[in-house]
Amino acid sequence: MKSVDSTIDLPALYHSMLRIRRAEEAIANRYHEQEMRCPVHLCIGEEAIASGVCANLKLSDVVFGNHRSHGHYLAKGGNLNAMIAEIYGKATGCCGGRGGSMHLIDNPAGFAGAVPIVGGTVPLAVGAGWSFKLKQKEHVSVVFFGDGCFEEGVLHEAMNFAALKKIPTIFVCENNGMSVYTPLVERQPIRSISGIAMAHGLGVYTGDGNDVVEVAHLAGEAVAKARSGEGPQFLEFKTYRWFGHVGHEFDDDLGYRPDETQQFREDRCPLKRAVQELIQKFGWSDKDFAIMEENVKAEVEAAFQFSFASPDPNPQTSGDHSYAE
């Protein structure tokens, strides 16, 4: 793990990761009840990237996500109740039930939207970043996407334009080496992803996506540069997806990731690493952890209770918002 300095608030980073972890575990545990009737793409194992990047953002900065965005949404401060309710298809969900897990938004928190078409939000982030520049605001926009998305033409078109206009957009590539069940080597030649971003003219950082301190450090530098007018930045973080591509279960049985074992996962667990650091550098005791666990657990449970108590959306309203007033 990267060493912690005074710019890093590790307890806050850990708290952010723990919220994502516990929220998604609760989703996974209850999914078999078949009440969350939409596809869910869990980011467990990858929490450090969302938490480490978003720790460097202000409320006025905006974040765009993709199909696997529970973590991005929560790390940016998205409302947990509204996310769980959305997955349950409730009227109180962040999209009123229209979107489900794959379409999340929390405008007041600066989470500007997630959609599941791969690459769909990347140019939107560039547009948002350009708007900041045109309005002479010092905000940045951030977009999270996967290694698979790096293959989409739209990403390269967006990077080109962002570099051309020096747009304050941070491109965050969560490289988990997989697109669904297809490994990176079957989709891209052996060469560096970030090298291509560099050739597009972006500032480039690469790091261990399972090390929240390293992520936070690198993202801090990238955000500062983008904010000070140095143009778009590209962060590539290697990480590991624990669950199946979609759904609430491990998929070791499919055999496409031969190295996949519980041990392999835990060796890469971003939370476990932070725990060690909190004990050693911050003198955290069992009690400190227990208190945080207790709080997070209560918050997550409350979100589920909120969803259960929430009304179903009225089918009569299903066509509302097809057009703006």
């Binding site: 939409c38 039930g97 489900g100 379409h103 959609v115 078409i117 069940y181 891209q188 179903d312 309203t317």
Partner: protein, 369 residues
């Protein structure tokens, strides 16, 4: 290409039950054994789930050069497949959701559909694009669209939407052998349905509608999954003396209107069913052609049943009402054949009403989506 009648002779002896997905797998496997120029390309075609098992075993049998995983690059890879098709191959490009094919519209519409024409017949594009409509289990607005009319608008493309396992296999084989780009659209809610499928290779034409059920009171024109709903509706209607003629279009470009005109001549009433939206859609085209050519036989203005004119919501509480089904069809039929309301409509609705959850094709269905 051998004529379909020749090839389809003696098939009856070798029938057995397959589901729609298995029929697709078999079509690709059998034609790849025969024709080395046929390739399968797509995200997931060689992965452990093999596009809901429709490409199962192909990479093992034919190797990764002919059954190829692809980068997430729908537009570029569509162009690559067009290039292959211009160069002696017959690629089958597969999209797990039709929504992903939207990224490739430039290549499909500007190149695939135009090259044979603009180059004065010197180039052909024998490309098949398999695309799945992924309705169900909260797929929502970007993963469940029924976009056939978008493709059907384009001269130069063929667009087919088979309903039965028999047609799935026979039409996929015809599509692969066809020298034009064929958009092969598969409804996910058909995948588990079983039917008799010949063991051998056979062909079903890409330009012929199929009269599924004879009837004298009303013509119901349908295709893809709505055919299944229409059959369920017609069974109940028949018990109350309403005889529905059901025509499964199978192909939405070109549209085979002749059997519709012939049927309307007998029934005088037309109800068109669609899996998509109404505006500028396939149902409107069928109605327009009927009105243009058989206006004098229509006793009443034709009607259609389509999706409501807005995107598909995710929450099942919203989506349940979004999709028309057998009950909606019974309503539609009665509104045309029973204006005096002599039949016990409520009783009939109850007979066809689904009692199980409506965001899965049937209670036994275990997905995945």
């Amino acid at each position: 290409m051998p004529s379909s009648t020749m090839d389809n002779k003696n098939l009856k002896t070798d029938m057995r039950e397959l589901n729609f997905g298995e029929a697709l797998q078999e079509a690709q496997q059998q034609i790849m054994e025969r024709d080395k120029s046929v390739m399968v390309i797509g995200e997931g075609v060689a992965d452990p789930k093999s596009i809901f098992r429709t490409t199962e075993g192909l990479v093992e049998q034919f190797g990764p050069d002919r059954v190829t995983e692809m980068p997430l690059a729908e537009n570029g890879m569509t162009g690559v497949c067009i290039g292959l098709a211009m160069s002696g191959f017959r690629p089958i490009l597969v999209h797990q959701r039709i929504d992903f094919a939207l990224l490739s519209l430039d290549q499909l519409i500007n190149n695939a559909a135009k090259l044979h024409y603009v180059f004065n017949g010197q180039v052909t594009v024998p490309l098949v694009v398999r695309m799945l409509i992924g309705r169900g289990w909260g797929q929502g607005p970007q993963h469940a669209q029924s976009l056939q009319s978008l493709f059907a608008h384009i001269p130069g493309l063929k667009v087919v939407m088979p309903t039965t396992p028999y047609d799935a296999k026979g039409m996929l084989i015809s599509a692969i052998e066809d020298n034009n780009p064929v958009m092969f659209i598969e409804h996910r809610w058909l995948y588990h349905l079983k039917g008799d499928v010949p063991k051998d290779l056979y062909r079903v034409p890409l330009d012929k509608a199929n009269v599924v059920k004879k009837g004298k009171h009303i013509t119901v024109v349908t295709y893809s999954h709505m055919t299944i709903e229409a059959i369920a509706a017609a069974q109940v209607l028949a018990e109350y003396g309403v005889e529905v003629e059901i025509i499964d279009m199978r192909t939405v470009r070109p549209i085979d209107i002749a059997p519709v005109l012939a049927s309307v001549k007998n029934t005088g009433l037309l109800l068109v069913l669609d899996t998509g939206w109404a505006s500028c859609g396939v149902s409107g085209e069928i109605m327009a052609r009927t009105v243009e050519n058989a206006f004098q036989h229509l006793k009443k203005p034709p009607k259609r049943i389509t999706l409501p004119d807005h995107p598909a919501p995710t929450s099942r509480h919203l989506a349940d009402e979004y999709y028309p089904d057998a009950e909606t069809i019974v309503q539609g039929v009665l509104s045309l054949v029973d204006e005096e309301q002599k039949l016990p409509a409520q009783e009939m609705y109850e007979r066809v009403r689904r009692t199980s959850l409506r965001d899965i094709p049937n209670p036994a269905y275990v997905g995945p989506f």
